[in-house]
Chain length 236, copies 2
């Protein structure tokens, strides 16, 4: 193998030659996260530093960093000297996560209703509309994939948090929400459930536009509790 330092520019060796702009640690983070979200890595499975490192063509150092980040988010569990394992989403865990989302995001919706400006409302409405279109496209042709839907869903929720104006609240939700889980949940949605989810978003926008925090909070609570009901079914 190459000596300390290696060949200067040679870093994109393996199959993981992705975004040159991102750091190796970021790439490792994204790769492992994606593997978990897609189900390629199952709950309870160990994640070996060296294996991941080899797979994406970096050393163990950035992989370690990525695993610590994932552990902080609860996606993997670390045990000293025993490495990382993919966290299990047992039904109980799913319940905990969604129960937290209920409290945090409904509170965020209430704050958003108090603070939103016209441009915020317009942006939220646009995201809603796009998501509805993406959902209909998916329902018409499932080959289209759910990526667009999940992405717009994430952006909608993120925008509500942004409008709420508490950055720390946003980062906590970001940390706890486990998009991996949310994405899996979407796969479990029926057509009706998916459409209902879109309608919930629309009603959230309406409540925010009306500047009615209680309404916004109630709708968001409804929305997430409905999601929880589906998610309980897809826990592994």
């Amino acid at each position: 193998m190459m000596g300390p330092g290696g060949v200067p520019g040679e870093q994109q060796g393996g199959a993981g030659a992705k975004r040159p702009g991102r750091s190796a640690a970021d790439r490792a983070y994204l790769v492992v996260r994606e593997a978990i979200a897609s189900g390629r890595l199952r709950g309870g499975e160990p994640v070996r530093e060296e294996q991941v490192a080899k797979e994406i063509g970096v050393s163990r150092t950035p992989v370690r960093e990525a695993l610590r980040r994932l552990a902080a988010e609860g996606l993997v569990e670390l045990e000293a000297r025993r490495g990382a394992r993919v966290a299990r989403f047992e039904a109980e865990e799913v319940d905990e996560i969604f129960s937290l989302r209920v409290e945090l995001e409904s509170h965020a919706a209430a704050l958003a209703a108090q603070r939103a400006g016209a441009d915020d409302v317009a942006k939220l409405a646009a995201l809603c509309e796009e998501m509805r279109e993406a959902a209909e496209a998916f329902l018409a042709d499932p080959c289209a994939g759910l990526e667009a839907v999940t992405d717009l869903n994430n952006r909608f929720h993120a925008k509500v948090l942004e409008v709420a104006g508490n950055r720390r609240l946003a980062s906590v939700v970001e940390a706890v929400v486990q998009r991996a889980l949310v994405e899996r949940t979407f796969h479990g949605y029926s057509a009706d459930q998916l459409r209902r989810s879109c309608r919930h978003h629309e009603e959230v926008v309406e409540a925010i536009a009306a500047g009615d925090p209680e309404w916004a909070e109630a709708v968001m609570r409804t929305h997430i509790l409905a999601g929880r009901a589906v998610a309980k079914g897809v826990a592994q």
Copy 2:
């Protein structure tokens, strides 16, 4: 300097030879955290990896890990290639943190009231009593220090979260609460405020013992909002 690997057992060289049981990364984490909590490191100040490493007698690797952990908790801010700086707790930030605590911990108190068993209540009551004694000891002789008080306060809040039975809620609060800030806040308490804080704890226990979630939630909300009012004054 010694070659790669160095002298086998030589690790406790510097002044940081503290707990042999903890890993170097843990020690680095605790040292930096303590430096921030005590005010030795001020907001905005850079934290250099090598400097910390030398100070506690380890290499940069565990220090890096510690800094990432602190960044995940919001105690320091990282910029790529530019290192870590101690996060500023502006008044606005303090407000955000305490606003989150209000929502999360009052919810936890409500859950705890629904789930607590007799032994949980006894444990909470004992922590309360100990804290009251520690507080009185401190008020009688300020040289006694606030460490015991802050420690018992932390343990009380942690116990409420534990009884609430949502581990993820507990870990989110743990991540967001910034004990560093809470500890600084205690230093700003007057005698009356400190005693009131103890009384709040006692009333939380009473509400939990009564199995009254709404009461418990309301008391905890009161307790944390009272803390917020003081904290706003000690933001740097």
